[in-house]
Amino acid sequence: MSALLIKRLFRSLWRTKLRLFSVVFMIVIGVFSGISFGSYAITANSLYDVIYADTEEGVNLPDLWVETHSGVWDEANASTLCTNIETSWPDTSLQFKFCEPRLKLDGLTFYQTSSGEEKLVPSVWHGIDEGLVDRVWLPDDECCEGRLASADNEIVLDEHAASGMGFEVGDSISIAAGFGKMDYTIVGIGFHSNHLYFAQEGVLMPADAGTFVTGYMDASGLERLSNYSAGSANLLLIDIEGTPEYDLQSTTAIEGVQLSLISEHIASNISQNNNSAIQVYDRSGVDSVEFLRADAEGAIKSYPYVTGMLGLVAGITIFLSLQRLIQSQAKEIAVLRTLGVRRRSIMPGYVIAPLFIGGVGSLFGVILGYFVGAPAMSEMYEDIIGVPIIETFIPTSLILQNIGIVMVIVFISGIRPAWQAAQMQPLDVFRGQSEIRLSSRTIQRLTAWMPATVSLSVRSSLRKPMRLAFTFFAVGISMLIFGSMILMMGSIDEVVIGGLEERQSWDSQIYISPGGEHEVIQWAEGNDVNYELLLQFPANPKDDSRQIISQGIDEFSTTDNGAMQILVLKEGSTPQISSQTTQVMVDEGTAHFLDWGVGDIQTLEFGSNEVDVEIVGITQGEISRTIYFHRADLVEILDFEATSVLLVLPEGVEIPADLAENTLGIMVKEDIINSFETMMKVQKQFYVAVEGLGTILAVAVLFNTLLMNLAERDTELATLRVLGAPIKSIGLMMLGEHIAIGIIGGILAAIFSIVGTKILIGAMVQWAFFFTVQANWPVFVLIAGVVLGISIALTPFGMWRVWKMNLVDSVKDLSN
């Protein structure tokens, strides 16, 4: 390997500075993104481990939850259940540690906004007495302050709510839990594991400021609010020694076999000794825990692909650039070979060059990722989730992994050009056989009818089909980054906002305890308010811990006929009431994950109660797993009428405070829409940045191809200029060529984006979060239009380059 040969190669590369910079830039972006996303994933994961840890600083997350949905257990009952669980603990290697009865209730906060408006805010209250498991988290951070509640008129408010609504320690807050309004003093501001992801139950989007409150009282505090006797509970928190594995909703494998066995054992034990409809679940059944875990898992899974994808774009560009370099140096290489330079001396330089480019790009990528990207991602995470990042983790292994991915890609991309350079036959080069490949006869025939300038443009563009194909592929990947954001956000927007605005006509949903619907109905009928009862209850498929929300509705409607909920029927039909086997509809996510289809008969478990259902239809548009029953059918199974009432409020009618005080909470549709829109606003910068990134990459790829095309056609263009072709004519030729490349590239990029996004989403969706990407013409046209726009926008640069061409030097070349 000759140092002089390598020096020569690097000088050649330096002569193509613009191309070199664009390639280094792509690598910088690839490594930067990989480190930023990776750091976010690792930081989030580590944060949850710290929060959930069974230590003084952690909250000691329970391993199993036993929840009753039909009232509460009194102290004696709850204590007996805990004793039974401990004494009948199955014979497994997992050791029982604690069982703590807990009361958790839905309720309301009476909140006066800064404009003086009285607002009823849906709330969740926890009565935390012993706090052996699932303590309130008061991190040593500026977010939080105060102490735990110890008197029955004290409360710790969740930081999300406190900061969103302007509450501080020492303030008084008026709240209710179905039994009248009471005032409490805020003594602390902190977090709780059930609400780290701060969203209302059943709602995927984090709650907007002032639309949701959670508070953590002493057990006596919540008993006072709810009028329940001392020691009442509707939850049993079970802690097991260590942290046992549990079933992940995102996989079909059963990770926590032993925990599942214990869970089934407890469910069967309680149902034998107690009449209450209970549900036993592990961490995957706690929405907040599962969403955050799924989010971190998704980020951990996806960041190597992000780096790889960006690295691949850079790799393709390096490959094409090196090929072009070798082509332009063919004569030099041939001379060297003729002078006796061996193949193995030619090759190393062309292998080292991409590695050098990769190294430089990685260095800058690491610096940017470490000092800018990772802290920015942590900050964004804090903004969106509202949980303080105590420490941002950027492990060395993450940096090495990203550099490794990029270096492998650039190394591979350099091998073939290097091999081609080494394999060049001097005689072929001198005979001109390694020069420009001609357009095929077929292309010539197809374009023969065109004016010569147009056919020249077309044929020049197609002269290097492989280069063009790789360019389109790289543009496709770049636009996949751009398009996937647009498609995903468009689809989520359609599912969340479209679903609520177009297919849900109710204004408010009042949550009630069993039997509490009568008071609401009475008020509604007295005030000309349309209402509809809704019965929601968690179920799970037989021998499967994954939770499905069973929803009993009175009217199945698939068209806009005034029903409060319109379902989108994807397949099959709506259920018939009181069928021999209960007929149901399932959402497409459930059908997808469980492989259920129309006509199947499946068994559902409601606690320990097993029910066979016949699937008659599949619906579309639900993010969470849902199964629809006729409410009357579900009432027969659960033995209570409703869990909430949907209301359409006429102009000027509001839910009165005295009615609200006696409910378990009110969800306002407008608040959910506002929450989503706020979240979108917070994340908009991120989406714009990612879309911009994709666009910049596409620009860089197309720019690189344009530069190569121009460099390759310098002689042609110089000839035309010398022969008197005005810059306008050449500009028009280029424009035509770029329009053609833009249209073809744009169409391919749009197809690539849509197909790629569907595949990506298919791999990303989980039990707790399912949606499909709906491709539509506006998005297709937008993606294709961006590529076309970039391609056209590069024309002036090409014209400028031709304009700056030194014709005297060109003529020298033409005549030598």
């Binding site: 002689t715 000839t719 005005p726 304009w803 030598n816």
Partner: protein, 224 residues
Amino acid sequence: MMEMTGIKRHYEMASGVVKALDGIDLQVKAGERLLLLGPSGSGKTTLLNCIAALDSPTEGTYFFEGNPVPRNAAEQMTTFRRDTIGFVFQNFNLLQDLTVLENVLLIQEIAGVIDEKRARELLILVGLENEIDRFPAEISGGQQQRVAIARSIAKKPKLLLGDELTGSLDSKTSETVMEVLVKACEAENITTVMVTHDESLAKYATRVVRLDSGLILSDNPVEN
């Protein structure tokens, strides 16, 4: 037809001023075939570039058909070339993606006078009637240069310039190409200025101008 007086073309180099042309006076009449002969560095290519308005003289006047030729204005110079000049290069420089016929049509398109019949006639005139649908890489060097000649006269230039146009050809092919050039230029009544090292081409000219060190050494008519 064209008249140059006191033409100088000096280049500022790091090593000092290079006087490529140092006071050239040259008149060319319509129909002449002028051959510029001289050793390397004599200034003949620079003079050709100035005639073609590819380069701008540093000093002196240049009139074509009584009008001053534009200088230091790229697009006006391009227009002058497009309307007035035909150019034949040593390396032919045909566009590889266009067929023989399309190469000729392209120049007509640029000049805004598309006339396929004339393009075909010109190709017949240069003896390429059987090659019109071939790509440049599919024909010989001599044939390519004949296409270049047809291309350069397709837009009816007043002045055809050739820079070492037989430099890449063997002597027999050079003869054929020159014969074709003379025939075509006579048929089209085109004035020609050619630069060459090759003394043997003098027989195709009506006048030979010898240059050295940026100056005209001799200017003699050729007796044929």
